[in-house]
């Protein structure tokens, strides 16, 4: 085990895959140089090891970063395209959804599109409306895509490696506020399989399902509730599509209560899918209907008091959990 930051762990994972397979390469803006405070730090030092043909510093051309990744994947390589933030990812939705996600099917299996697209999600203090969005629900709703949203350094590294080796296009969503967080990373290959959730905390009264940064808040909420004598199980999905129904259903069978917590806007979010699915598939296990917690349907405000008002906080998760526990 080594302790490292999320950013370092993911960079390690990328470097390891690039060493293993010469057809793995990365492209994106500012990948070749140090840069204060953006995701570009995640590529520090890689150009020195792998050269400018495999760590490709691109023009500001989101359509082409994504489109070129699709073309290069179809032509037999494994690109990792970095769009920096899900907000900028919106500039390349077409190439991701109309091309990457559909090519294998639409061409009857003649081609695969083994690419990874990194699009960081989540709020950072002062990020405001255009640098804070969490759009995982869109891509879960898009056939052809795999969606992962790791919450720890080990999962970031392990899932990036699995994503790179996968033959499906994978949307890799890192939370910007996780980059600097630290955690233990195994010294071995450390693969984390796509589609497997992790139970962060066992419990018997309520299941909280979450992912990415919100999973940490869910654990905090569980700790708060433990003080009341309530036993909360926390599941970090890690992969959003395909999500680990086996683990979630089993947990709900045990606890009979479900809360899905997400940072994204609640209306139309992924939590709604999980809640609706569990409602349909675990009806006999449920002691009360599943609850959701997510952000209000409004853009992210800038000033701190408003921003805090907007946030899905641990307290809000606790309050929702109590609602489920009291029902």
């Amino acid at each position: 085990m080594t302790t490292m930051t999320f950013a370092d762990a993911v960079r390690e994972g990328l470097a390891e895959e690039m060493r293993r397979d010469p057809l793995v390469w990365a492209l994106g803006e500012d990948l070749s140089t140090a840069h204060g405070g953006t995701s570009a730090n995640q590529y520090l030092g890689l150009i020195e090891e792998f050269g400018a043909k495999r760590i490709v510093n691109t023009p500001i051309s989101e359509n082409t970063i994504m489109g070129a990744a699709v073309g290069a994947a179809v032509a037999g390589t494994r690109p990792v395209a970095d769009l920096r933030m899900a907000d900028f990812g919106m500039c390349a939705v077409d190439e991701l959804v109309n091309q990457a996600a559909k090519i294998r099917y639409m061409f009857g299996g003649q081609a695969r599109v083994p690419l990874v697209v990194r699009q960081a999600i989540g709020m950072r203090k002062g990020g405001a409306a255009q640098h804070s969005q969490s759009t995982e629900a869109w891509y879960v709703h898009t056939p052809g895509l795999v969606v992962v949203a790791p919450g720890t350094p080990a999962d970031g590294r392990g899932l990036l490696k699995s994503a790179i080796r996968a033959d499906d296009p994978v949307v890799f969503m890192e939370h910007k506020d996780l980059w600097s967080t630290k955690g233990d990373v195994p010294d071995d290959e450390g693969m984390v399989p796509i589609g497997e959730a992790k139970t962060l905390r066992e419990g018997s009264d309520l299941t909280i399902v979450s992912w990415s940064r919100m999973a940490h808040l869910a654990v905090e909420a569980a700790e708060t509730l433990a003080a009341d004598g309530t036993s909360v199980e926390v599941i970090d999905l890690r992969t959003l599509w395909p999500w680990d129904k086996v683990t979630v259903y089993a947990s709900v069978a045990k606890t009979g209560r479900l809360l899905v917590a997400q940072e994204a806007v609640q209306v139309g979010g992924f939590a709604s899918e999980i809640a609706a699915d569990v409602t349909e598939n675990c009806s006999t296990d449920l002691k009360t209907f599943p609850r959701r917690i997510g952000a209000p349907r409004m853009p992210v405000p800038y000033a701190e008091p408003m921003e805090n008002e907007f946030r899905v906080t641990t307290e809000r998760v606790v309050a929702k959990a109590r609602e489920a526990l009291d029902a």
Binding site: A68, V74, A75, F107, G109, P143, D167
Partner: protein, 338 residues
């Protein structure tokens, strides 16, 4: 399709191109008939009048070179060597279609001959094309990429991104702009500023050349030259072919937006006739020309018959080739379909 080791512009070579053009023409005419008879769903974008471009370009490509096409992809596919019978099956949604009948006309593709797909979204082939070229440089292949783009599509932003990108990374790619005057019902020049695609490509430092796109001899000669340059590592090149979309945008299009006589005037310059004259002038026997033409139609008629006789695919095949991870819920051919 054919290799590039033949001498240029010989009657023998141009005769081969003529045969390819006849095959495309026959395919498009018969596809329209099949569409009108109800054998094809959706819509078809025909290549009639533009045959010389795809043919003249692809005749200079090797099998392991890639092309990326757009919505008007039948001609590009045939020119690159796809089997017209499998294509016709694809259009009719039958077993044996190039894409297993999952894509249809607008997503015609044949990866076995390097045809990486038509495309229902304009300009996306361009950005994918530069990516394919980047993959080539990474793999150290000696193949190259040709991308086809319509005049109207040159007003979409990704076109410029792709031009810049190709130059920055000095990629082995040729852009082929087929200027057929129209974009759907819009006269492209009415919504295009400046001197057009060649001037725009040059502004990115890309060598760009203009050619009469209805003259296969000229297209072939220019393509031979430019593709040789691309292949020898001289970076991206731009070929602009002036042509005319003789038919409607899609086969159902009634062309209500054209002035009287416009189509007919332009029909006089259509590429097959021009090519036949050139061949006749260069000693080809008229009977040979006629029989080549007839052979093309015969081949396509056979393809049409085969396609009509081919069964529809089993509905359960719909669930194949979706993705490795995650089932296509809520149903997946598991028998719960009503």
């Amino acid at each position: 399709m054919s290799e590039t080791d033949q001498p240029r512009n010989t009657p023998a070579r141009i005769f081969e191109l003529y045969k390819t053009m006849c095959l495309i023409r026959a395919f498009e005419e018969r596809a329209e008939d099949a569409f009108d008879e109800g054998f094809i769903n959706g819509s078809i974008h025909q290549y009639i009048g533009q045959e010389a471009v795809g043919t003249g370009v692809c005749s200079n490509l090797r099998r392991n070179d890639y092309i990326l096409s757009n919505h008007r992809g039948h001609g590009h596919s045939i020119a690159k060597g796809a089997d017209p019978e499998a294509m016709m099956k694809e259009l009719m949604g039958r077993v044996g279609g190039t894409s297993g009948a999952k894509g249809g006309s607008m997503h015609i593709a044949d990866f076995s001959v390097g045809m990486l797909g038509a495309n229902g979204v304009l300009a996306d082939g361009l950005t994918m094309g530069v990516g394919a070229a980047q993959a080539i440089t990474l793999k150290g292949d000696d193949s190259i990429v040709a991308v086809f783009v319509g005049d109207g599509t040159t007003n979409r932003g990704p076109f410029y991104e792709a031009l810049n990108w190709a130059m920055v990374y000095e990629l082995p790619i040729m852009f082929v702009c087929e200027n057929n005057t129209y974009a759907s019902s819009t006269l492209t020049r009415s919504v295009t500023a400046g001197d057009g695609p060649v001037a725009r490509a040059k502004a990115f430092g890309m060598p760009a050349f203009d050619v009469d796109g209805n003259n296969v001899v000229a297209v072939d000669a220019l393509a031979t030259d430019l593709i040789a340059r691309v292949r020898s590592g001289q970076g991206p090149h731009f070929l602009h072919a002036r042509t005319y979309r003789v038919k409607g945008h899609i086969s159902r299009d009634k062309l209500l937006y054209r002035r009287d006589g416009e189509t007919e005037e332009n029909w006089e310059n259509e590429p097959l006739g021009q090519c036949a004259s050139w061949l006749a002038d260069n000693g080809l026997n008229e009977a040979d020309l006629r029989s080549a033409h007839a052979a093309a139609y015969a081949q396509i008629d056979t393809a049409v018959t085969a396609a009509k006789e081919s069964p529809f695919p089993d509905a359960a095949l719909a669930y194949e080739d979706v993705q490795d991870f995650g089932p296509p819920e809520p149903w997946a051919g598991t028998g719960d379909a009503a």
